[in-house]
């Protein structure tokens, strides 16, 4: 072989150099593919932050770059949850904001590139996906070889399961968390393999970064101890394992406690107890290992039995005792809901109601990973074939994460990396066998030599064999290689199709088609939020359902009563009550909370189904939970128990503020005829239009999606607002000029 190495030169350049060059080129192209496939939304729409939570992260980032880091950590936000406020600095994971803050400062001050912070936020997720690709490569390389690594990298780059959370504009914690997850796992495997304190420290460092970025760090906190525990059960204790784990646990735990939101959780909450328990167990095993090397085996057995019983009893008593004393907190509800799937349904409706926490049906698995999903079990098989320590890790990760992904849709995100790694290992095993065409020629000559030496079937067949051996194996290899190249090609088509169709809509801006088929953009949200920003006083308080809290804070920059943080259920119920009760009750709430504007989302005109009337039942339910005497869900249904908004709607429904605000002057659009509500397919009666007394229409966006109302001030001459409105109406009736509203004709695209 030594002689071969010197021979392997192409055009005078050593083959290793060429390999390195090729690898770098492949990497650059993979990263390019990963980033560009995440840019659909930027190209179709514009560089804009998506959805709801990213708007909060964006706002926090803006706060960070305009203030100092310490001010950011001590940030008390009085512009949300009015009048309570929120201790924002202590209740968020700062990793994401700090990352973009650092990038912004580096670009601005070191490279003199003053880039808008918004663009950094929008493009952060695609940029980090490039880094994820690299860490996946290194992780898979530890599992098999660099060929598998490259395959895993390309899979990771374009797998829709990961793209779903990392398209441009999806500025959420998960965007950088997956990168950190893969990096932490890579360094852990490396540390465990060579028993290095250096790599153990790097693991802890990336673990710290992960803790600062995403609540899902608990996954690492439990997976690594589980890996160690299984290795101990398999009798694979080594000093390397001891070094790696002890380094990671000690440093990682200390580091993670520096995050204000995490605080003392790592030593008090049960979520983290597995890591502590395994740490203790590892010390005992290390001690036992030492004793074993010093005493005869018979005595060691007694020693083992006695100490094992003692330790187990002590451990169980300690755990129960400390929990009973309240020193360590019980498992958090979110964690429970993973194991006991009925738990959330009964005890935490707010978790059960969120769509991300629903179980996953099988099409979602195929949708998010394509053909990789059936290569995945094969990959697990190949892990069992070799079953080195690091393969045990992949096996545990596979089984656990398939379970988690099955229970909660959002955990598809953590399953996708292991699917990519396992599938890449499987596929690279296949390619090892079938892609190597050089084999065909070399083995044939080897076989001839064998034939000659064995001299059994020799001379007469050897000539025939020689010809056959070249062509038939070549065909065999071609068949397999070509079919799988074909599948891979289709895999790329699949990923692009899924990304472009399902995961690239900002949901702030909607796309639709004109009657003639030309594409158009529905931009009502930003239109309304911009109106609020420009036309209302800076300290105006806007009341809206919590879904829109982050967007109002981010885009309109106005104070909100509730937002997507949902930390105070009573406050949310108050807002729900103001929406679901009659005007006089609502007015009291408005005055108590200094509300200046009320904002509702209405999709009845366009057929936009995610509007407030469809969410109305949740508002009623949540406020009924707090005021069961005043709000009763039953009253909002017709006598036959139907949820209706047309002329059969119940009186309570028609009196509710939400109904009035949604359908105020709606039938005027249709020239006095009944107005059709396109979402609920019901006709809104024109005969009995809703009247407003304590509110007045301030702004309605182009397609009626966002409607803003101003809360009237107390009457000048001390009249009741209802009387005042009646008086005004009588006075101005002959003078009132009918406002002409142009009705938009475009239907929304499903």
């Amino acid at each position: 072989m030594g002689t071969e190495k010197t021979q392997l030169k192409v055009l005078g350049v050593r083959i290793e150099t060429i390999r390195l060059l090729l690898r770098v080129i492949i990497f650059i192209s993979i990263a390019g593919a990963a980033i560009s496939s995440r840019l659909f939304s930027v190209i179709r729409f514009e560089s804009i932050i998506h959805e709801f939570d990213p708007w909060f992260n964006f706002r926090a980032t803006k706060y960070l770059v305009s203030h100092s880091y310490y001010e950011f950590l001590n940030w008390f936000d009085d512009r949300t949850w009015y009048p309570l406020g929120r201790v924002t600095g202590g209740t968020l994971y700062p990793g994401l904001m700090v990352t973009s803050g650092i990038i912004w400062h580096v670009l601005r001050e070191w490279l003199s590139l003053p880039i808008d912070i918004r663009n950094i936020c929008v493009l952060l997720a695609p940029a980090f996906s490039g880094l994820t690709v690299i860490s996946t490569y290194f992780l898979t390389k530890e599992m098999k070889d660099s060929n598998a690594g490259l395959l895993a990298a390309i899979f990771m780059g374009i797998a829709p399961g990961y793209i779903s959370r990392s398209v441009a504009g999806s500025y959420d914690n998960e965007a950088i968390a997956i990168t950190l997850l893969m990096a932490t796992f890579y360094f852990w495997i490396k540390a465990m393999k060579i028993g290095s304190v250096f790599y153990g420290t790097l693991t802890a460092l990336f673990y710290f970064y992960m803790v600062s970025a995403w609540g899902g760090y608990v996954f690492i906190t439990n997976l690594i101890p589980l890996h160690v525990f299984v290795l101990l059960l398999m009798g694979r204790y080594t000093h390397r394992l001891y070094t790696a784990y002890s380094t990671w646990y000690a440093l990682g735990t200390l580091a993670s406690m520096q995050i204000p939101f995490v605080g003392f959780n790592p030593i008090t909450s049960n979520d983290h107890m597995a890591a502590l328990g395994v740490f203790g167990l590892l010390q005992l095993v290390a001690f036992g290992d030492y004793v074993k090397s010093r005493v005869p085996s018979v005595q060691f057995k007694t020693f083992l039995a006695v100490s094992l019983t003692f330790v187990i009893l002590l451990g169980i008593a300690g755990l129960f005792g400390l929990t009973a004393l309240g020193w360590i907190a019980p498992w958090t509800g979110r964690f429970y809901s993973l194991w006991d799937t009925g738990y959330a349904k009964i005890h935490i409706p707010i978790i059960a109601s969120v769509s991300e926490h629903q179980p996953t049906a099988w099409p979602a698995f195929f949708f998010d990973t394509g053909m990789l999903i059936w290569l995945f079990p094969a990959g697990v098989y190949f892990c069992f074939q070799e079953l080195r320590d690091e393969h045990v890790f992949i096996i545990i990760y596979s089984v656990l994460c398939s379970y988690f992904a099955g229970v909660m849709v959002r955990l598809m995100l953590t399953l996708t990396p292991v699917v990519c790694v396992a599938a890449a290992m499987a596929l690279s095993n296949l390619f090892d066998v079938y892609l190597n065409i050089v084999d065909v020629f070399t083995t044939s000559s080897n076989e001839i030599q064998e034939d000659k030496s064995t001299t059994k079937k020799s001379t007469k067949k050897s000539g025939v064999l020689e010809e056959k051996n070249v062509i038939l194996p070549l065909i065999t290899k071609l068949v397999v290689t070509l079919t799988f190249a074909f599948y891979l090609f289709y895999f790329i088509l699949h990923c692009t199709w899924v990304t472009s169709n399902a995961y690239s809509s900002p949901s702030v801006v909607l796309s639709s088609r004109n009657p003639d088929g030309s594409p158009t953009i529905i931009d009502d949200y930003r239109e309304a939020y911009y109106w609020l920003r420009m036309n209302t006083p800076e300290d105006a308080k806007v009341l809206a359902w919590w879904d829109y809290g982050y967007q109002i804070g981010g885009m309109a920059d106005r104070t909100t009563l509730v937002d997507n943080n949902t930390w105070n259920n009573t406050h949310i119920a108050t807002v729900g009550k103001s929406m679901s009760s009659s005007e006089d009750v609502a007015y009291e709430i408005y005055k108590q909370h200094d509300v200046d504007y009320v904002l509702v989302i209405f999709g009845g005109l366009l057929g936009y189904s995610g509007d407030d009337i469809n969410k109305f039942l949740w508002m009623i339910r949540i406020s009924e939970g707090i005021w069961p005497d005043e709000i009763k869900e039953r009253n909002y249904f017709t006598d036959r128990g139907e949820y209706k908004v047309d002329k059969e709607a119940s009186q309570t429904m028609k009196d509710s503020v939400m109904y009035k605000l949604s359908y105020y002057r709606f039938s005027e659009l249709f020239g006095g005829r009944d107005g059709p509500d396109r979402v609920r397919n019901q006709d809104i009666p024109a005969a009995d239009p809703p009247e407003l007394h304590v509110l007045e229409e301030a702004f309605t966006s182009e397609n009626f999606i966002v409607r803003v109302y101003k809360v009237k001030d107390l009457d000048n001459v001390g009249r009741n607002l209802f009387d005042a409105t009646k008086f005004d109406n009588q006075l101005s009736k002959p003078l009132k000029r009918a406002r002409t509203i142009k009705r938009p004709v475009l239907p929304i695209r499903e």
Binding site: P349, M371, W374, L375, V399, G406, L472, V479, W497
Partner: protein
């Protein structure tokens, strides 16, 4: 004997009811005592007598159904809770509240102390009553407060409905009753001895079996392939949507128009058999892939090798096409397919 007495009593009672309707406190106490579990069974024959007329006590009515046709899951879940509440009340007050306590007023809630009795109406036996209430869903729990109105009155306006919220129904119902009647309710949850013994026996027998066959068990535990089957199997089961079936309790198969339906459209829908089919497709594909990679290179003869590889490749192609066809059925407008099976 008891039954005969009861019949006599009922006849006498109904005669009385014609004039006045409604039962006195003593009458309903006797009726409660003679009923199973102290829960009065309301039927089409006796509901007028019991529910209408003057009442000097609180009456709790649960409208429910055990029948298979209606298949009310919540009713079945709620039934033992209700039994426990009623039993606990009668365990504390076997003959109702003592005479001297009746008609006292609770200091806190200002509610007059009255006895409370419990009734249950089964849909199959009380259709008329269910029609009066115009129920859309069951179970329902109503509280009828004491009343002085004789004769028929509107049952709906006369009663308070208990809202079924998420949570432990035993506690929620007693809270509700406490707010309406002022009484304090203790809950005596009977220990299910048979379940305890059953669990102990099962645990012990498993331990014994493990001990007796410890050689085999050890062999299994230390066998790589056993673990491969366990973890590979679990992975396959999970990625084919098993947990969704468990949590949502999806039907196994559905009767469509004329024919049996094996697949339902929609990305958030699936059937039990559908996930099994998909799971098997995944399994076949994986196994074929492993055969292709590990097994076929071991054939020394080039021709045999070619044939084996071709068969495996074709099978993979067929199964992958099948998977794509099933996926297209889910109605996402998925544009890619190889061979269309449906």
């Amino acid at each position: 004997m008891q039954l005969r007495l009861l019949q006599l009593f009922v006849i006498l009672g109904s005669l009385f009811a014609i004039s006045m309707a409604g039962l006195s406190d003593n009458q309903i106490l006797e009726l409660s005592k003679s009923s199973k579990n102290h829960i009065i069974d309301i039927t089409d024959d006796n509901y007028e007598k019991i529910l209408y007329g003057k009442r000097d006590y609180h009456l709790i009515l649960v409208m429910t159904s055990d029948s298979v046709q209606i298949n009310c899951l919540l009713c079945r879940e709620f039934k033992p809770d209700y039994d426990i509440i009623v039993n606990s009340w009668f365990q504390d007050h076997p003959n109702g509240l003592p005479e001297h306590e009746l008609n006292e007023v609770y200091e806190k809630s200002k509610i007059t102390k009255k006895n409370i009795y419990f009734a249950r109406a089964e849909f199959a036996n009380a259709r008329k009553l269910f029609q009066i209430f115009e129920l859309q869903s069951i179970p329902k729990l109503y509280h009828f407060p004491p009343t002085n109105m004789p004769g028929r009155h509107d049952l709906l306006s006369d009663s308070n409905e208990y809202p079924f919220f998420h949570g432990d129904q035993k506690v929620l119902v007693t809270d509700f009753l406490n707010s309406k009647t002022g009484h304090k309710y203790n809950l005596y949850i009977p220990v299910n001895y048979s379940a305890v013994i059953f669990n102990i026996v099962i645990t012990l027998s498993i331990l014994v079996i493990l001990y007796v066959f410890r050689g085999l068990v050890l062999k299994f535990v230390s066998n790589k392939y056993a673990w491969l089957i366990v973890s590979g199997g679990l992975t396959l089961v999970f990625i084919s949507g098993y947990m969704f079936n468990q949590i949502r309790q999806t039907p196994y198969i559905r009767q469509g128009e004329g024919a049996l339906q094996y697949f339902v459209p929609g990305q958030q829908n699936q059937l039990g058999i559908e996930t099994q089919i998909v799971g098997f497709v995944y399994l076949f594909l994986s196994v074929l892939f492993v055969l292709l990679t590990v097994h076929s290179p071991t054939y020394k003869n080039a021709l045999v090798n070619l044939i084996a590889v071709s068969i495996f490749s074709i099978l993979i192609f067929v199964f992958y096409s099948l998977l794509l066809s099933i996926f297209s059925l889910k109605g996402l407008g998925y544009p890619y397919s190889f061979i269309r099976f449906f």
